[in-house]
């Protein structure tokens, strides 16, 4: 009974969500091995080897794995799967892309987006955009798991597992990477930031988002948005927090001009402290907010920037 955790990384460093998913893998019991598949990614394997509870790191370094496309990753994992009862990975867009392909090739079920490990075969996961929690048990010999990383703490980086290079499988040639447009930002990444400042439809225009960015920069926070703000074209779609966007659980979440649609709440309601600033006191966001401020954001946000300045931020 052992687990293969497929690492998420950018060929340079391991994602925070992988380090958190390792906790879920350790909780399932048995040996935990990590697969680092990428191109020029030896440093990632060394980092993965430090995750506490990991006993071995498999390194597949080959050009075809550079972007972790589903078809080659699935073929590689299936070639390794014989030894493992569980194949796990963070429920990022990468993991969500390749994991069901792996599960179907292994003829096993996938349990998506787990938020708790009850025992090696029983898990909790949100359904209906987080409005219900399902406890699901499998009795299959193999299972595929994607982990909602924000529900788990990171493992210590105190281990020293061995790294073993493995060879690549043949490339099916079904898919080819053409390019990517990544949003560049000096701010922390949304899903791992300790503080997130998000704007909604109330921001009225993308031109008003620099107001939030100033707050974010004072707090060392990431900037997010509701689906309404993204659909209105205020900000790019990777800003979106919600069931159909990113799921975040920072220490502090500041929702500005966000009404609090179910789909948005599903993406942020596990934040430790939630602040809502909205001029509509009936807005559902206030039902989940620890601190609610009923005010026009165009007055409150500049004032917040000033007040933060006063306390030395």
């Amino acid at each position: 009974m052992s687990t293969l955790l497929i690492a998420e990384h950018n060929n340079q460093s391991l994602s925070e969500s992988t380090i958190k998913s390792a906790t879920a893998a350790v909780q399932m019991g048995g040996d935990v091995h990590v697969l680092v598949a990428g191109a020029g990614c030896a440093a990632v394997a060394d980092e993965a080897a430090k995750m506490a509870g990991v006993s071995k790191v498999l390194l597949a370094d080959d050009a075809q794995y550079e972007k972790q496309l589903a078809e080659p990753i699935a073929d590689l994992v299936v070639s390794l799967a014989g030894d493992y009862a569980t194949i796990a990975t963070p429920a990022s867009t990468n993991g969500k892309n390749f994991m069901p392909r792996i599960a179907a090739l292994l003829d096993c079920s996938q349990i998506s987006d787990i938020t708790a490990v009850i025992d090696a075969n029983t898990f909790e996961r949100p359904i209906y955009a987080g409005n219900a929690i399902q406890t699901v048990r499998t009795s299959e010999a193999k299972k595929a798991i994607t982990v909602r990383a924000t529900a788990f703490a990171a493992v210590e980086m105190s281990g020293s597992a061995a790294v073993e290079a493995i060879s690549a499988t043949a490339n099916s040639g079904l898919s080819e990477f053409i390019g990517e447009e990544l949003t560049k930002s000096d701010r922390p990444e949304l899903t791992s930031a300790k503080i997130v400042v998000s704007g909604g439809r109330g921001m009225q225009s993308g031109d008003n988002f620099p107001m939030l960015e100033k707050i974010a920069d004072k707090l060392g926070a990431a900037v997010g948005a509701s689906r309404a703000a993204v659909d209105a074209g205020f900000v790019p779609n990777d800003y979106q927090v919600g069931q159909t966007g990113k799921v975040v659980a920072p220490d502090l979440y500041i929702a500005v001009g966000i009404s609090g649609a179910i789909q948005h709440l599903a993406g942020m309601k596990d934040s430790k402290v939630i602040v809502a600033i909205n001029k509509d006191e009936e807005a559902p966001i206030f039902q989940v907010a620890d601190y609610g401020l009923v005010a026009d954001l165009f007055n409150a946000v500049p004032e917040l920037e000033e007040e933060l300045g006063k306390i030395g931020l």
């Binding site: 219900a132 406890t135 990477f177």
Partner: protein, 249 residues
């Protein structure tokens, strides 16, 4: 080019669902049901490909109860040509569903399958990828743009850091994300026309697919409620609470 679009009947996205008191699931009695929003986007994309002269026939398939006919009719009213209902009252898991759809595809031989990226009830986000695996096809998931380019399909995908563009060998599986398009509302004449379009009735046995459930639902519960917070009167008070009470800044 023939396109197959699987669609699912789910609780309408505007409905606030209730968990049953006996923890066996979500109360579906007398709840408004609709086509899964991501499936609507998939249907719309297929219809646009047909309007652009790329697609020649759109087949819509749903695996579900008799009432899923209504969901198929909705897709036919949007512009699909014909429907297939694989009737079952069982809850079908994604792997079982992919096996049934594989059977449909072997019979219908489409060149492309467009699905929603996930259903908003189970939130699994699995069926399209599983289907691609079972068929040995390429997959373009979470698509925000697709373009046919000779015998290849270019797919722009929504990924965590932004957008990724890949090129796929055909036939291919595409799963639709939110920004692929904005689905149309069916016009009244098209709704009337859709009533005359054919829907084939099938059973799971027709495709000899093993769709028996493998997972046991132990229970379904309400998520933990957040404790009610407080209203602050001023920004100054807010900053004071965050710094001195919550200790988060």
């Amino acid at each position: 080019m023939k396109i197959l679009v699987p669609v699912k009947r789910v609780v309408d996205y505007n409905v606030k669902i209730r968990v049953k008191a006996d923890q066996t699931g979500v109360d579906l009695a007398n709840v408004k049901m609709s086509m899964n929003p991501f499936c609507e986007i998939a249907v719309e994309e297929a219809v646009r490909l047909q309007e652009a002269g790329t697609a020649t026939e759109i087949i819509v398939v749903s695996v579900g109860p008799t009432q899923a006919q209504e969901t198929i009719r909705t897709a036919l009213a949007m512009g699909a040509d014909r429907g297939i209902l694989v009737q079952t009252d069982e809850q079908i898991e994604p792997l079982g569903l992919a096996k049934i759809l594989k059977g449909v595809i072997e019979e219908e031989k489409p060149d492309m399958v467009i699905l929603g990226k996930q259903a908003i009830d189970g939130d699994n986000n699995q069926t399209g990828q599983m289907l691609a695996a079972l068929l040995g096809w390429s997959q373009g998931t979470f698509a925000s743009e697709i373009a046919l380019d000779g015998d290849k399909l270019t797919v722009t995908r929504e990924i965590d850091g932004g957008l990724q563009t890949i090129k796929l060998a055909m036939p291919a599986i595409v799963t639709a994300d939110l920004r692929l398009n904005e689905p149309r509302y069916a016009s009244l004449p098209n709704i009337m026309k859709a009533k005359k379009k054919p829907i084939d009735e099938k059973t799971i046995a027709d495709y000899s697919a093993d769709a028996a459930p493998r997972l046991e639902i132990v229970k379904v519960t309400e998520p933990a409620a957040r404790e009610a917070g407080i209203k602050v009167e001023t920004v100054n008070e807010l900053v004071d609470k965050l710094k001195n009470v919550a200790g988060v800044i």
